[in-house]
């Protein structure tokens, strides 16, 4: 899907809300909340993912994410990271909705600890429960075009196939599948997970996806703030290249200078 355009302004719409930045970032793995806040700022992201965890009741005065990353400025997207069953995921997001007061969530139900690959059976089951309960579900999923379509048909507001395994930095391993998912989808498709560096982000955007979600590639870079900026530029560059329309690949050369008038 191309995304909507008004003049030179390019944005995508999810759950009825417009977002100009096509880069969504996670808030985990940073050295402290100050670094988190600076990296998010540099990334230009408008949506940030957050996890739901127990409050440390023995030391409730510990700094909280909300004190550094303003939920009025950024759209918090609660996730279900660490959930391996539909039941746990639904329970977590019901708590998230109560904590935050909004319906937009990221569902991810993991299949195993070594790969963190999505468990699609549990994901489908959780999706059904959440949609019934009025949630706007952005769903992390396998890069299977049939599964992606199924999730869209069930009512998910965004489909988020993995580029490669979470935190792996292996980039877009199945560009053909991602492309097939994008072509079939009527809701935004965002590549979630696997980006290692800026070129991976550009490749994903050049495939025509509506956005990109990443965390480790920025947070675990040697200089997260600089990498956040690199990702912002890469997402913009990839998007522009997609809209501009690349030249076809050819086997042989095609001279850039005119042949007429050669001495």
């Amino acid at each position: 899907m191309d995304g909507d355009q008004i003049g030179t302004e390019d944005f995508f719409t999810v759950a009825g809300k417009r977002f100009r930045s096509r880069l969504l970032v996670g808030t985990g793995k940073y050295k402290d909340f100050t670094e988190t806040a600076r990296a998010i700022e540099a990334s230009g992201a408008e949506i940030v993912t957050v996890a739901v965890r127990r409050v440390n009741v023995s030391d409730p005065k510990q700094p909280m994410l909300m004190d550094f990353v303003d939920p009025k400025k950024y759209t918090y997207l609660p996730n279900t990271a660490g959930c391996y069953t539909a039941q746990d995921a639904v329970r977590t997001l019901r708590l998230a909705r109560e904590a935050g007061g909004w319906n937009l969530v990221k569902l991810e139900v993991l299949g195993d600890q070594k790969t963190l690959y999505p468990n699609m059976v549990e994901t489908l089951s959780a999706t059904e429960a959440l949609i019934k309960d009025g949630f706007d579900v952005m769903v992390y999923c396998s890069d299977d075009p049939i599964m992606a379509k199924k999730l869209e048909d069930m009512g998910c507001c965004a489909i988020m196939p993995l580029g490669s395994l979470i935190g792996s930095g292996l980039g877009i391993q199945s560009p053909v599948n991602i492309r097939l998912i994008i072509e079939a989808a009527k809701v935004p498709v965002l590549v979630d997970a696997g980006v290692g560096t800026a070129s991976d982000a550009a490749i994903a955007m050049e495939l025509g996806c509506d956005g990109l979600l990443m965390n480790t590639a920025i947070a675990a870079a040697k200089d997260p703030i600089r990498m956040a900026r690199a990702m912002k530029l890469a997402v913009e560059a990839g998007r522009l290249a997609y809209l501009a329309g690349r030249i076809p690949k050819k086997l042989y050369a095609d001279p850039s200078s005119p042949l007429g008038g050669l001495i």
């Binding site: 996670g26 808030t27 985990g28 793995k29 940073y30 909340f33 988190t36 993912t49 957050v50 996890a51 739901v52 965890r53 127990r54 409050v55 009741v57 409730p60 005065k61 909280m64 994410l65 909300m66 918090y76 609660p78 996730n79 990271a81 329970r91 019901r94 708590l95 998230a96 909705r97 109560e98 904590a99 935050g100 979470i166 935190g167 990443m214 965390n215 480790t216 947070a219």
Partner: protein, 66 residues
Amino acid sequence: MQIVLNGETRTVAAGLTVTGLLAELGIDARKVAVERNLEIVPKSVFAATALAEGDRLEIVHFIGGG
């Protein structure tokens, strides 16, 4: 009476409400969600919800995550 709070047994005053518990713990009620015996306790009824012996409570908030 005893309750289980975030997985740990804790002794609290009989009749304590959710609002009372959060105040006792020094937790800002606006920044958390509370689950009691697997049911969400809406913020609007924190003050009216009295805890009972053996209640299992979860108090959660948003932290950094991907």
